[in-house]
Symmetry: C2
Subunit: 580 residues, 2 copies
């Protein structure tokens, strides 16, 4: 591609809303542009990277016998009603009405559609197992789209669905898919970890997330320092034994007493005011879960896990109340809300609350708190659940040894669905024994657009992107230092033609720009190899460097092929071993 | 691909709603399944054909320097309001509201999105010309989805947009695109014709449709038998001179007279009742155009052209009234409606009406018509337009010679947009002279899903599909006649492996089915070459045939490569010359 008329709008300044490196770099290097909150256009370079990732996925999916197809984005509401998810999925599911008044969902995922298809087309075990997949655009109305394409509302996903006759068959399919995902993310150059995950509204049992390790706070991974346990903090179970951490302050039981606590609203302020540790404060957080106002209680030193809260209440959507909504429901500011005297509010508590004696809690009155709270005595009707996030001082729920936290981005997800959807949508087939049995399903997703961002998140430096070989939009960035110098221009043009004839993907900077601008852009765009045609062209040599090392070497033109194949070989071995 | 577990659900019986061959065959050969009216899943074979067409398009687009990108399907309403099309586009544009109450359109086309992008990114003539394209899913809420994927509500489209600084530049880009389209449809094996077309709500001036010639009544092409004129009947202009075909019945002027015409409702019945020719009947058709009830008048022997009617009234949507709506607006059944005494109804007339003397028209009273109608005298306030379809007896609007009608399906469309969108969305750039000027645009679409259907429409026989080489999901259909015969099975397996190793796309029928079933399916699925491993395998020979000729030849295994390359070469030359 000649850069002169290429739509690669690099930026010197990046809008302030770009908070993470991949978002900044995708804007800066001209890979993507925002159209609306969480809705992005992929520009030519961004799309090329996406298509490279898609090719890797296709190859690995085809290799395990999965068959590509393409399902629609418009889903009749009836199908989602049949599975129960029309209600359950909540506002993340975008909905619309057609000109005849029929309701549709915009596909956020395709279990319903694919299951009803298979229910119609496959009637006998002899046609199974079958795994199908698609590379298709998904729509999810995220409450807080952020980090550029990492959490967006419209994105390309690879979703696969497997159909087996036996549970053992599903186990085998799941294992093959797990291995294919490992191969895919390795080829993408990602450092990642497969962890236990929450099944969410998809349903099902066994499920793993593939997490690209990046410290951007999108997801936290809990891993055991001793056994193999690794889980998304969303799902990591807190051991019940540890959560009843009794913190009594003495033997004499205290009585509830209302205290004037002017302007004391944060946990920190409360511990100072009462001169106690945070584990004696009842932290109260107000949510709307579907249509209910919910007050979730957790010990002052812990944090509520929204997903656990949602599951505990069997809700489909949980959102923290805004200050004005709190004022309406509780009659005071957020810092003073608490469990007593709030009719119409559902109160639930994390198990960490159980151990509290002589605790403090908001009084639902401006500038007042209760003290002397005894959780067992004073919260008789309140149900206890595991509602909090694990902390690094909690033990591993499997073996009790210490855990370690890492941050990551979910790039893939594999699920054993079982018969949830085949039951709901009547996908049954004749078994070898002649009876009808529900088909046993799995589903397997990769966030393709997000994978591109994760690659950038892991592969960049202060100068720009450092594309791994297989994802790189172009293998070579060819620079002609001075287009006005006849020798340089002719050498560059000849190189451009000959490299392309050999099947090389080349981005050719043929612009009339200063060399400094060209070099800066080459670093920013991050193609694996840079070939610079400069003054040495007169002696039949060019300057070569890899983006990763940025060490420049003069290479005689007749040795260029050897230089390039050496890099490809090196990258190849790098891919296969380094990130395993 | 092994057929045993392939998702190729061929059918023996096809649902009755499939009225055209491509729809029937796409269902029968297991290429597609309907999910909702006008919404289809492409199954593996259907998607493979689609992806082949996409590859052809990519190659030809890249060859003319167009750059691929990917724009979203979710379009903020504001953009469409800015161009005026939020109102104009009518109910075909699907709309939805997100969780925050913001309105979005589902992309039916991308002029607004791409123009606003370019307006932001390109400020100087030095970055132009630029042409971008995408292969993306479009949503259009067709009033009458039909013919399977030929007229559907969600489909894959290639849309390209060009940005030039001068009108001459646009002409050049347009010509290059026109040539690329010609190359694309040739490679797809289509017989087609480029014709003048209606710009519709896209706007713009110069525009051509690429019509795949198929007699399914989707579109009618008018072509001149003498000059080069060819146009979609939607847009073909009726020469005014011809439309004032005076058909007086004598010199004495008749007066309007109301006649009792019991049960006389069709044009044919009226001509019999009044013993006159159809050109003396005022045919009245009631429409709703946006919010107005409109009565369109045309001579009894002609037909109203809805698109011309819509344009004449500057409307965005026109639909014929249903019988109950007619009863409400006109107080009678459809056969008796007419131009007099209907307050609140907009009456417009085709120019063919002008010549009518002593005509008949409905009286807006059950079982009554007027006679003695003189159009000039009795319809003083009614505006005249070109509202009717051309007929084969009308002359060419360019040269006056006779025309010929052909039927076709629109597979591509090229437009010179000019500055319609750059004006509306402020896409201006600095010219060489230092002033600001609106960018000059073109837009260019290919219905990719529809092209697959058009290919099948043109390439099939009574046995099934006959895929042209470049679109074929697989090049070879390999049949092992008896999987229980060890020699046959081993020969077939070895062939499958070696052909794939050579890069051949092979569909391998390894099922335990009767040979008759396998042969029937091979004919139905229509891959270009069939290789049958049967009894001759013991002598080292297989039976080969092409789907087009269905003549079977024994080919020794060692000569198979030569046989296959001969077919590829033949097909190659076929593509390049035959359909030009």
């Amino acid at each position: 591609m000649r850069m002169k008329h290429a739509l690669i709008p690099t930026l010197r300044e990046v809008p302030g809303e770009a908070k993470v490196d991949s978002h900044r770099l995708m804007l800066k290097a001209g890979l993507a542009r925002q159209l609306a909150a969480g809705v992005y256009t992929l520009l030519p370079l961004g799309l090329k990277a996406l298509r490279n990732v898609q090719s890797i996925i296709r190859e690995e999916m085809d290799a395990i016998g999965a068959q590509e197809m393409l399902m629609p984005a418009l889903h009749p509401a009836e199908l989602w009603q049949q599975s129960g998810r029309w209600e359950q999925y909540g506002p993340e599911l975008m909905r619309l009405t057609d000109r005849n008044g029929s309701s549709f969902a915009l596909g956020a995922t395709h279990e319903e559609v694919v299951t009803s298809l298979i229910a119609n087309e496959i009637k006998s075990y002899r046609k199974l197992p079958v795994t199908v997949y698609q590379l298709q655009t998904k729509f999810r109305d995220e409450r807080r789209p952020r980090f550029g394409v990492l959490r967006s509302r419209e994105f390309v996903m690879k979703d696969a669905y497997s159909f087996d006759t036996t549970w053992e068959g599903l186990d085998e399919t799941y294992a093959r898919m797990y291995d294919a995902y490992t191969a895919i993310f390795n080829r993408c150059g990602l450092t990642f970890r497969a962890v236990e995950a929450d099944p969410g509204t998809i349903g099902g049992t066994d499920t793993h997330e593939f997490m690209a390790l990046c410290a951007i706070g999108e997801d936290t991974i809990v891993s055991c320092t001793s056994c193999g346990y690794a889980a998304n903090i969303e799902k990591a179970e807190v051991s019940p034994s540890k959560s009843i951490a009794v913190s009594t302050s003495g033997a004499v039981p205290k009585l509830l007493e209302k205290m004037h606590t002017p302007d004391v609203r944060t946990i920190e302020q409360l511990t100072r005011f009462f001169d106690c540790s945070a584990d004696r404060i009842v932290k109260a957080v107000a949510y709307r879960v579907d249509d209910r106002v919910v007050l979730a209680l957790v010990r002052g030193d812990y944090a509520i896990n929204e997903l656990k809260l949602k599951h505990a209440l069997k809700g489909s959507d949980a959102a923290m109340l805004e200050e004005d909504e709190i004022a309406e429901a509780f009659g005071c500011k957020p810092g003073f809300i608490g469990p007593f005297g709030v009719p119409g509010v559902t109160v639930v508590a994390d198990r960490s609350i159980r151990g509290i004696r002589d605790g403090a809690a908001g009084a639902n009155e401006q500038d007042f708190h209760w003290t002397g709270l005894d959780a067992e005595r004073d919260l008789p009707g309140v149900p206890f659940f595991d509602l909090r996030n694990m902390t690094e001082s909690d033990p591993c729920p499997k073996c009790g040894e210490p855990v370690r936290f890492t941050e990551g981005i979910e790039v893939g997800h594999v699920f054993k669905l079982g018969t949830k959807y085949s039951d709901a949508l009547n996908a049954a087939c004749l078994t070898e024994q002649g009876s009808l049995a529900p088909i046993i399903m799995g589903c397997y997703g990769i966030g393709v657009t997000r994978t591109v961002a994760a690659i950038i998140e892991q592969h960049h430096d202060e100068h720009g992107i450092i594309w791994p070989l297989e994802a790189a939009p172009y293998f070579i960035h060819l620079i002609c230092v001075s287009m006005n110098d006849e020798v340089q221009r002719e050498t560059a043009e000849a190189l451009y033609a000959s490299l392309r004839a050999k099947g090389c993907e080349v981005l050719y900077d043929d612009r009339d720009e200063r060399p400094g601008v060209k070099f800066k852009d080459a670093d920013l765009l991050g193609m694996p190899v840079r070939i610079t045609v400069g003054k040495k062209a007169a002696e039949g040599a060019v300057e070569c460097s890899t983006r990763a090392e940025r060490v420049h070497t003069d290479v005689p033109l007749q040795e260029l092929d050897a230089y390039l194949s050496a890099i490809m070989k090196r990258n190849d071995s790098h891919i296969r071993t380094d990130s395993l």
